[in-house]
């Protein structure tokens, strides 16, 4: 057999490749200087980030959008997973898989086309609502997959027992099944939150002037040239996302 030790050395290299960029980014966010030369420890870029109005507005918009979109897609996605549990729904599951593989840029421009067409009849403009609708559309698939995976391991006889004892279908769902799969639903919600908060491509196409999100602000800053302020914000995002995802995974398999 191939030597596991040789493979181990190789794997270590790949792990370094995967983690080093983020570690370097976080490391230099504490640099006193502007360039990639260490000039001493400082939290000045974090202070600059805290005092930046654009970043604050972007963060507020992103949080609002992500919270609403995650809540909506969790409800819709959980319901869909439950609906598809005992008997498949071919069209819906096909659409959900398709939404996962359709390039983001295509999803974005086609939603933009729909909005522009609909705005001919409605007196609306691009804004927070159009972003939220878009985010729900691409988050449903993630929620459904996570909840469906949990339902696959869920003992269906529990629900049948509840109904034999006189519970209606609805009561059996809310009192028996939902509590049992609640951790997976929470995990799916956290995942939707992260996916929504992170999106740049679709958001940038369907956002209005008043709905610039944090990724859009970061993108604009990165485009203008590298600023250590972006490193500081990125470091905070990496830590926050990491915590949320670990929590989400803990909830999925305790």
């Amino acid at each position: 057999m191939l030597k596991q030790r040789a493979l181990g050395v190789y794997a270590a290299c790949i792990f370094v490749f995967l983690h080093a960029p983020l570690v370097i980014l976080i490391f230099f966010s504490f640099n006193a200087g502007r360039f990639t030369v260490w000039e001493g420890f400082s939290t000045r870029w974090y202070e600059a980030a805290m005092n930046d109005q654009q970043l604050a507005d972007g963060l507020a918009n992103s949080l609002t959008i992500a919270l609403i979109a995650a809540a909506l897609s969790t409800v819709i996605g959980t319901a869909a997973a439950y609906g598809m549990w005992r008997r498949g729904a071919r069209w819906l599951s096909g659409m959900l898989y398709l939404s996962l593989v359709t390039p983001e840029i295509v999803t974005g421009v086609s939603l933009l086309a729909l909005y522009q067409w609909a705005f001919r009849f409605l007196h609306l403009q691009l804004g927070m609502h159009t972003v939220i609708v878009a985010h729900v559309a691409f988050s449903i698939a993630y929620v459904t997959i996570v909840v469906a995976a949990r339902l696959r391991n869920y003992d269906r006889t529990l629900e049948e027992a509840a109904m034999d004892l006189g519970a209606t279908e609805w009561r059996a769902f809310t009192r028996v099944t939902l509590p049992a799969i609640a951790p997976a639903v929470a995990a799916a919600g956290l995942l939707a939150l992260v996916v929504s908060f992170d999106d740049y491509v679709i958001t940038s196409l369907v956002a209005g002037v008043d709905s610039e999100t944090l990724p859009m602000v970061i993108y604009a800053m990165a485009r203008r040239g590298v600023s250590p302020v972006v490193n500081a914000v990125s470091a905070l995002i990496v830590v926050a996302f990491g915590a949320l995802i670990l929590l989400s995974q803990r909830l999925q398999d305790p």
């Binding site: 057999m1 191939l2 030597k3 596991q4 493979l7 794997a11 790949i14 792990f15 490749f17 995967l18 983690h19 960029p21 370097i24 990639t36 030369v37 819709i76 996605g77 319901a79 869909a80 439950y82 609906g83 008997r87 729904a89 069209w91 819906l92 659409m95 959900l96 398709l98 939404s99 593989v101 359709t102 390039p103 983001e104 840029i105 295509v106 999803t107 421009v109 086609s110 939603l111 086309a113 729909l114 067409w117 609708v133 559309a137 769902f173 992260v194 992170d198 740049y200 491509v201 196409l205 990724p215 970061i218 485009r223 590298v226 972006v230 990125s234 995002i237 990496v238 990491g242 995802i245």
Partner: protein
């Protein structure tokens, strides 16, 4: 309506109105003509698709396929040994998998920006090279195909490693022992037993890397700096700066059909039944 229908309705409605219908509109637009002020008008035409065969756009099409294929090949080459290592990891398996997945779950934008930060003229690599007097001027590491490839491999490597690991983990160790007992050297076992038996995982993982690479937008945009234009950037440009929605729609349609076709092949294959 039964409860099941009630539960399915919101998702069905949302996906119909905000996913399927928009794709339908783009499909329709791709056969229409660009209006004078950037709108969309009749007559119906195939002009937009014919324009894609123009050498200028054919080059973009070709570059997208080429970059996605090379990124996929690199992910297979880099990911296979890693998946093999993890599958044999014993008790530490979960830890190794976490190490692969954790960076993947941090923001896509941040991960791409990290490479921008490292590869730019005053970035870590160029600063180190100059400090060690290896080079006297910064090397042009950004804004070329290499940088785009690096970004794609970095972002999508986990897509290959996961199905690959799942396949390798299920390989019956007895087969490997049998191969060794019958006198095969480790490399022969790898080439003639492990690789053929794990082909479904290789194919699934390769598809999962190829599909998002082909439709990549942010990576070529940030790391290619507008010089390495891929299909995704063409679509974005037609819908924003150029305001030629019919042509942008035609490009979107091609991109979407290829992605959907690849997904369809993957789902219908034996691989999907074994892994999904």
């Amino acid at each position: 309506m039964t409860l099941r229908r009630v539960f399915l309705f919101p998702a069905r409605a949302w996906m119909a109105v905000f996913f399927a219908a928009p794709l339908g509109i783009v499909c329709g637009y791709s056969f229409l003509t660009r209006g004078e002020y950037g709108g969309v008008e009749e007559p119906w035409t195939l002009e937009n698709f014919l324009r894609l065969a123009d050498p200028l756009y054919l080059a973009i099409l070709w570059r997208s396929v080429w970059i996605a294929a090379v990124a996929t090949a690199l992910c297979v080459a880099l990911g296979f040994p890693l998946a093999l290592f993890i599958a044999r990891g014993g008790k530490r398996k979960t830890l190794w998998l976490q190490l692969v997945l954790l960076p993947f779950w941090t923001s896509f934008l941040v991960r791409t920006y990290a490479w921008l930060f490292i590869l730019r003229d005053t970035g870590l690599v160029n600063t180190l090279l100059q400090a060690m007097h290896v080079t006297s001027a910064p090397l042009p590491l950004l804004y070329n195909e290499g940088a785009v490839l690096l970004g794609l491999v970095y972002n999508f490597l986990p897509f290959f490693v996961l199905p690959m690991y799942a396949t390798l983990e299920r390989l019956d160790p007895a087969l490997l022992e049998a191969s060794a007992d019958l006198g095969a050297r480790p490399m022969a076992t790898l080439r003639r037993v492990i690789v053929p038996l794990s082909m479904p995982g290789i194919v699934a993982g390769a598809m999962l890397v190829f599909i998002p690479s082909l439709g990549a937008y942010l990576t070529p945009d940030l790391l290619g700096g507008g010089k390495t234009v891929m299909l995704g950037n063409l679509v974005q440009n037609q819908f924003t700066t150029a305001r030629d929605w019919p042509f942008g729609s035609a490009a979107s349609l091609v991109l979407m059909l290829v992605s959907a076709w690849l997904l369809g092949t993957l789902m219908r294959s034996r691989v999907a039944k074994e892994l999904l």
